[in-house]
Amino acid sequence: MTRTGPLVLLVEDEAHMRRFLRASLTAHGYRLVETATAAEAMRQAKAYNPDLVILDLGLPDRPGGEVIRALREWSAAPIVVISARGQEQDKIDALDGGADDYLTKPFGTGELLARLRVALRRAERVGQEAETTLSMGDVSIDFTKRVVTVSGREVHLTPIEYKLLAALGRNAGMVLTHRQLLEQVWGPTYVDQTQYLRVYMAQLRHKIEADPARPRHLVTEPGVGYRLRVDSDDASRGPIKET
């Protein structure tokens, strides 16, 4: 069995962080290119055309946002950013600017691997036909019939509730910022009306979550947005599909 895992460009200035990331990523079948600066990252990205970029937002030479913008000019490779706690605005800017997901330091490798898998899976689907159904645990969404069932029973959702769930479902496993969700569901003039999002999210949870105060599917990313959690995110699995 020959394995040529996805190529990851790791941009991180802390040597110790790189060491542990290298250890866990290579152990899970990823190939790795490492750099410590933004300038070097741009060169490496052009030279290697990686399948995924892990980018620390606290680089010494340039703000992470610039790197994301520059990358997005020519590359669609998923970008997962790493940031410190309390940098919520940086995360939001990075996500709205084209990053696909984020991790807050300190994080465990399980979390990291799950994020990478989700990001790669979605990148793979780009260009392919959109999936018609999505199921996670007891909840399933049929995108063609616009029907949502919980434990096999159909749940009545309002048009907005459905649009909200579908937006998250199409990006299953990934974080969507408040702004992205408001824009997709309500339209560009509503991007600052986060209370709409909160109210409808609460309604949606009451309809599809067994315990709305402890959501299993519709997860809040504090200060950033929401994520539809996919149950199959098993931390121990590698990026390579079994067959």
Binding site: Q195, D211, A213, R214
Partner: protein, 383 residues
């Protein structure tokens, strides 16, 4: 003033222009009062029965000098003394209504009057200065005491912090260095790795607490209020406290029509996390925890109830103080509840603990509802 050794009119060193201006204004007021006193003394002297015995009149004038010098400085007192002598001469010493004097003996009276007046004003001046000095001294010693207390708090913080951070760090170092030993069997390796992970996570939590406390104390805390459904905040807090709560049964019961609250979600989340972790730490393993909330008119009151030993009434207030630790055998710097109090206060609410109806402690706090919640129209009447 003379015993200050300062030329009159000169301002004491280091005295700001504001203080000096206040003194000048005070001096002008003093002179005015001095003139009024002299006028009053003259009138009283004129009104005295029995064709005015001069000695009585002198006494009345001296009384004026005393009054002025008790309240004002040297210049007003001197003004009062001289004006008194002049008026005394003019109105009372024959021949009246002229400054001329018949009896040269009266010149002695004037002299004695001036001397007595300046002695009196000198004495009262000294009394006033003495009072001022002791006031200053009291102020200084109060400041010194405050400084000392702050210093004590800082060193208590330092020692508590270094202990609090060193303990998990020592475990991490020990476990990691043990892992370097190749003879360690795999099962123990796994255990040590788990230990390192747990301790590192607790280190992160403690650092976060410390940072929060510093921000609260330094006034750097920004409260970014947004209208939030409490349920979502409780949800994120439960997820963060998941590990600490282990397999505990946590019930959340919120009224279905509970209003949104204008809060900083990340801060209030921290209050819940601290209260939950506290409950997990101080109550027997496996005992349930209950989170509830109710509308109390101008605020929403939140309660976190446990079934632990409860908080003795004597500790109900001090438990929210910094560095207060209910039990020395439970680790922690004693910052968690102080942070809760700080955050709740920053929202204009209050936090307290009372006995829970189920036995145990009930930690409660209010989140005031300020302003009008935005309306979110339904997109459909759900049936």
């Amino acid at each position: 003033m003379v015993d200050h050794g300062q030329p009159s009119g000169a301002r004491p060193k280091g005295e700001g222009p504001v203080v000096a201006a206040a003194r000048d204004a005070n001096s002008i007021e003093g002179v005015v009062v001095a003139v009024l006193c002299v006028v009053l003394a003259t009138l009283i002297g004129r009104g005295l029965p029995g064709q005015q015995r001069l000695a009585d009149v002198v006494m009345v004038y001296l009384l004026g000098v005393v009054v002025v010098s008790l309240r004002y400085g040297y210049l007003p007192s001197l003004t009062c003394a001289i004006a008194s002598v002049l008026c005394f001469d003019f109105f009372f010493v024959p021949p009246h209504y002229t400054f001329a004097v018949d009896d040269p003996g009266h010149l002695v009276t004037f002299g004695v009057m001036l001397v007595v007046a300046s002695v009196i004003s000198g004495l009262t001046q000294r009394v006033r200065e003495h009072a001022e000095r002791s006031r200053l001294f009291a102020e200084e010693s109060r400041e010194a005491r405050l400084r000392m207390e702050r210093e004590q708090i800082r060193s208590a913080l330092l020692s508590s912090v270094s202990h609090d951070l060193r303990t998990p760090l020592a475990v991490v170092t020990g476990a990691a260095s043990t892992l370097l030993d190749e003879r360690i069997p795999p099962s123990v390796r796994r255990e040590l790795t788990d230990t390192i992970l747990e301790e590192a996570e607790s280190l992160e939590r403690r650092l976060q607490n410390l940072l929060d406390m510093t921000r609260l104390e330094g006034g750097a805390l920004q409260v970014r209020r947004q209208w939030q459904p409490l349920e979502e905040v409780i949800g994120t807090a439960l997820r963060r406290a998941d590990k600490a709560l282990a397999a505990r049964d946590v019930t959340v019961s919120l009224p279905p029509d509970l209003r949104m609250v204008p809060i900083d979600a990340s801060l209030v989340e921290q209050v819940f996390v601290n209260l939950l972790e506290n409950a997990a730490r101080y109550t027997p393993e496996g005992t349930p925890i209950r989170i509830s909330a109710r509308d109390v008119g101008d605020a929403v009151e939140v309660a976190v109830d446990d079934r632990g030993p409860g908080v003795p009434e004597t500790e109900a207030a001090s438990i929210f103080e910094k560095f207060h630790r209910a039990r020395s055998d439970v680790s922690g710097a004693g910052l968690g509840l102080a942070i809760c109090r700080g955050i709740v206060a920053a929202h204009g609410g209050r936090i307290w603990v009372e006995p829970s109806a189920d036995g145990g402690a009930s930690f409660r706090f209010t989140l005031p509802i300020v302003g009008e919640a935005p309306t979110v129209e339904d997109d459909e009447v759900t049936t």
